[in-house]
Symmetry: C2
Subunit: 176 residues, 2 copies
DNA sequence: CGCCGATCCGGACACGTGTCCACTTTTCTC
DNA sequence: GAGAAAAGTGGACACGTGTCCGGATCGGCG
């Protein structure tokens, strides 16, 4: 029995990778995986074992930001009716997206896998449920749908039209 | 003056590339550029000069399909009111997207460049304009917005929810 | 017909991604 | 503390993308 604990060097390696990635992202928005590996002083194998995809790494780097975003949902719900809260939350997402494309990439890697269940999806679910109870948002909408619609934010040309398109999306989610 | 005409071999090469690409796509949905080059018996340079991006190549391959899609817009408008026509057209897009992801990729490469002006955008503009005149579709929507929203179709997990999400989008574009 | 220069060819390169596995290091056990 | 097994390492590889440029090739012209 007695599960072996994870090796000390493994932990520090993982931490150093995230650290290095964060630093690299301050200078450019590029994030070559092999550069991360080299800068962190680890091999490609180590990097990819810790973070199978670039998204996984970005998710870790921007975890804090994502957490703020997720946490803002209940706050908004406390201060506004569900529809307004939802609308405001969408704007928050857009703002984050504009500053750091990475946040977007992170949430796009959305875990469809079992157990893990994406916190962003959770936040959206909350907002949708509130709107549903309130009778202002369509009942046939799931977080998955919203995530799909929000995907446009990752396109580079979306920046300017973002808020307008969000308007259209929001309009479509309201009950008629 | 007297513009030199394009060399005969250049023309045949271009044609052969498209031909080969089409054949490769019948077996798999993958389309490695270097494989195309090799199969067509040309160098990478030649391939990339003719089609700078994979999307450009796909656009050429699926040109016929896209043309059908574009041509269907006026037909639908002739037989239905603008809102219905638009809704039906969106379904057409989704159907094409499901069968051939390539069509999607093709239209996503949407020429923002001058002069060329994307035929798909043209079709959308027509539909939108009709809806605007009719008073059933929002006046503040551009083809660009619709294209952005339609982007979700290229995500692999969109397949099942596609029609539902299109419903939401359509709902958002209607006047309230 | 044959030359000349514009045009086009095509493969070598530089680079990034992601996988694989022989080897090293760490932890546990005694 | 010593030994062994497990856990982790890291760099070589295979592959795909896209660029670049020396040289072959074609079309125009005398």
């Amino acid at each position: 029995m007695a599960e072996r604990r994870t090796r000390a060097d493994a932990v520090s390696n993982r931490a150093r990778i995230v650290q290095v990635a964060r630093e690299l992202l301050t200078s450019t928005s590029e994030l070559p995986m092999n550069a991360v590996a080299k800068a962190a002083g680890v091999g490609q194998g180590t990097l990819y074992r810790n973070f199978p995809t670039r998204e996984a790494l970005l998710a870790e780097v921007y975890k804090a930001d994502v957490d703020v975003l997720v946490a803002s949902a209940p706050d908004l719900l406390a201060q506004h009716d569900a529809a307004a809260a939802f609308r405001l939350w969408l704007d928050n997402v857009a703002d984050y997206a504009r500053v750091k494309r990475g946040v977007l990439a992170a949430l796009e890697g959305g875990e469809l896998a079992a157990g893990h269940h994406d916190p962003i999806a959770g936040a959206i679910d909350r907002l949708l449920a509130a709107g549903r109870d309130e009778g202002t948002l369509r009942a046939d909408v799931g977080a998955q749908d919203v995530l799909l619609l929000l995907g446009f934010l990752s396109r580079p040309e979306a920046a300017e039209r973002a808020h307008h398109v969000l308007d259209l999306i929001f309009n479509g989610l309201r009950v008629r």
